[in-house]
């Protein structure tokens, strides 16, 4: 069958629905083992799946934050050129709402994931798991969600209930 015939047979529609070409697909995917997948899989889910071993407290995280994060996020997570992380002074339903981790972010796991995945922006991926847990703890403490000596780890982090956990309505997905 020529490519043209194959396309016609499969119902190729330009600009419309994706054509059904599976039967023609060459199947060139290379199987990979669970061990190899593990090196790629850094996803962290709200229930804690994907969190690595390690731990940290706000007391440990403060020095890291001051050294690596405050230049952009401001001292205490406020007043820099990057987005405000803490120190909200006005509520979400007020005239000038302040969206911070403490007032807006629905899941504490997202703080760890973003920190480990993307931060600091001049050296992303450079934090150890302990350091990422410590910075997470500091940000939760700066938002008055946990105490300064509360240990954040793979067990305790998913149990931290964020103030805005139930503040979202799903629009285009169940």
């Amino acid at each position: 069958m020529s490519m043209r015939d194959a396309l016609l047979a499969a119902g190729f529609v330009f600009g419309g629905a994706v054509c059904a070409l599976s039967a023609e697909a060459p199947k060139l995917g290379i199987p990979i083992s669970p061990a190899d997948v593990a090196a790629w899989d850094i996803s962290v889910f709200p229930d804690g799946r994907g969190l690595p071993p390690g731990n940290g407290t706000a007391r440990q995280g403060r020095a890291l934050f001051d050294a690596q994060c405050a230049r952009c996020h401001g001292a205490g997570g406020r007043g820099g050129t990057a987005e405000e992380l803490a120190g909200s002074t006005s509520p979400l339903n007020g005239p000038d709402p302040d969206k911070t981790i403490g007032t807006y972010w629905p899941y504490a796991t997202t703080v760890f994931d973003m920190t480990r995945r993307s931060m600091p922006m001049h050296a992303p991926g450079s934090l150890s798991n302990d350091e990422a847990y410590a910075v997470t703890a500091y940000l939760l403490f700066a938002n008055k969600i946990i105490a300064e000596d509360f240990e954040i780890n793979r067990e305790s982090l998913p149990l931290v209930k964020m103030p805005n956990r139930d503040g979202f309505d799903r629009i285009d997905a169940p």
């Binding site: 499969a10 190729f12 330009f14 600009g15 419309g16 629905a17 994706v18 054509c19 070409l21 599976s22 023609e24 697909a25 060459p26 199947k27 060139l28 995917g29 290379i30 199987p31 990979i32 669970p34 997948v37 790629w40 899989d41 850094i42 996803s43 962290v44 889910f45 709200p46 230049r71 952009c72 050129t81 990057a82 987005e83 509520p91 979400l92 339903n93 709402p97 969206k99 981790i101 807006y104 629905p106 899941y107 796991t109 997202t110 994931d113 973003m114 995945r117 993307s118 922006m121 001049h122 992303p124 991926g125 503040g167 979202f168 309505d169 799903r170 629009i171 285009d172 997905a173 169940p174």
Partner: protein, 431 residues
């Protein structure tokens, strides 16, 4: 044979001097256009440095330049460029805007496609780039770029729009910027690549796989969750943009294309798709790309781009050169399907008439519209209003703000109003 123009055609179709759209289909009517920028107007009246014989210009009397391996725009068009807005501490975090006011037709040149990067454009070696599909599948798979190039492909001629496009519309005062630097986080391309359904079928979907987490290979490892239903329906792993391999800033060597859904879901530099039973609740689907409402609750997973239109000419910052018949032209698009109708108003929305939609009118693609307007030299307010094939009508700004407040930031799609003063200067107004 084309119909000829008659004076009857100058009878208004709506207030403020709007003419019937049939005028555009007839010969004999000369349309003025809004002066774009000061340099162009100045240049028109300025004598060239060396007087030349216009009938025999120098370039007709000497050999031209030789061939080029990759063509570039004329040096005389150097001012047509993306405008960049970035964080000075982190220059790779920001946006660049498509100069909509300088472009015609419906396709955006790849070099002018808008950009949103969170931490710069990665310098990916395609030989070392991999796409991994894993999670709730029968067999986790890894694909090389070279292997993906051997799969059957399909094309989508579609727009991609950032969820944060037009967000200055929420401001208290109307922002005074060229239309592209306000609404230009939207562009339209032909994207070509492998239907994702083929790759997911190859890996074998577990029935429990309702969501997928898509991740890019940039310095942010940007990730978002997407319903599997959408991936199976019409998403592609795109390798080509407008016929050539995707530019680095648009996702080279491959990106996800999710037709009609907000830009952040069209993950650039795609490297991993993890099938799951739930969304991962990444930063860019919780802290960002959600819309806070006046009640204090927020809209989440607002994937679909609602219908929108705007006039690109005349538009903010341009000038009309005096009373005349002008061509109004603009763009309309909807993430739900085809544009069914665009109406224009020259009296601030008191009366409307239908604009001419230029073929082709494709689903989830830019649609170019045109209308004729006889300006009498009095102040006027120009608007356009899109209706898509689902019946959705682009809202007035007041209605959108009444529903959403002013702090949602994302998904601003209200009717855009341009004010024309007695001198012909065009500015952005809320009307």
């Amino acid at each position: 044979m084309r119909e000829t123009f008659s004076t009857d055609d100058l009878q208004p179709a709506a207030g403020g001097g709007l003419l019937h759209r049939r005028v555009l289909l007839k010969a004999g009517l000369i349309l003025a256009s809004a002066g774009a920028a000061q340099p162009a107007l100045a240049a028109a009246g300025k004598k060239p440095a060396v007087e030349s014989d216009l009938a025999h210009p120098s370039w007709t009397r000497e050999p031209g330049q030789p061939f080029t391996n990759y063509g570039l725009p004329s040096k005389h068009e150097a001012a047509v460029m993306r405008s960049v807005g970035a964080n000075h501490d982190v220059p790779g975090n920001g946006v660049s805007w498509t100069p909509l006011e300088s472009l015609e037709g419906i396709l955006t040149p790849a070099g002018l496609h808008f950009e949103r990067h969170h931490n710069g454009v990665p310098a990916i070696d395609p030989a070392q780039h991999r796409l991994v599909i894993h999670g709730l599948v029968k067999q986790p798979l890894m694909f090389t770029v070279e292997s993906l190039l051997r799969y059957p492909m399909t094309s989508h001629l579609i727009f991609v729009e950032c969820g944060g496009n037009s967000n200055a519309g929420w401001h208290q005062e109307p922002i005074q910027r060229p239309v592209g630097s306000f609404h230009g986080l939207v562009s339209c391309s032909e994207w070509t690549g492998v239907p994702l359904s083929i790759l997911l079928d190859e890996a074998g979907l577990d029935p429990k796989a309702l969501w997928a987490v898509a991740e890019g290979a940039d310095a942010m490892l940007m990730n978002v969750s997407i319903p599997v239903e959408k991936l199976m329906k019409d998403c592609i792993v795109a390798l080509y943009q407008n016929g050539e391999r995707i530019r680095p800033e648009n996702g080279y060597p491959l990106r996800l294309i999710a037709p009609g859904w907000e830009g952040v879901l069209n993950v650039k530099w795609l490297r991993r798709i993890q099938l799951t039973d739930q969304p991962v609740m990444a930063r860019n689907e919780t802290a960002k790309y959600t819309e806070l409402l006046p009640s204090g609750r927020s809209r989440m997973f607002t994937f679909v781009v609602d219908a929108k239109s705007l006039l690109t000419s005349p538009s903010c910052g341009q000038s009309l050169s005096g009373p005349s018949v002008y061509e109004l032209k603009g763009l309309a698009w909807s993430g739900r399907g085809r544009i069914a109708m665009v109406e224009v108003s020259a009296d601030g929305g008191a009366s409307w008439t239908r604009a001419q939609l230029q073929d082709p009118v494709l689903p989830r693609c830019f649609t170019r519209f045109r209308a004729a307007w006889k300006w009498d030299g009095q102040p006027a307010v120009l608007k356009s209003r899109a209706t898509d094939e689902t019946g959705y009508v682009q809202p007035e700004r007041a209605a959108l703000v009444a529903e959403r407040g002013r702090h949602g930031y994302f998904h601003y799609n209200a009717i855009v109003s341009w004010g024309v003063d007695a001198e012909g200067k065009v500015s952005h107004v809320y009307a």
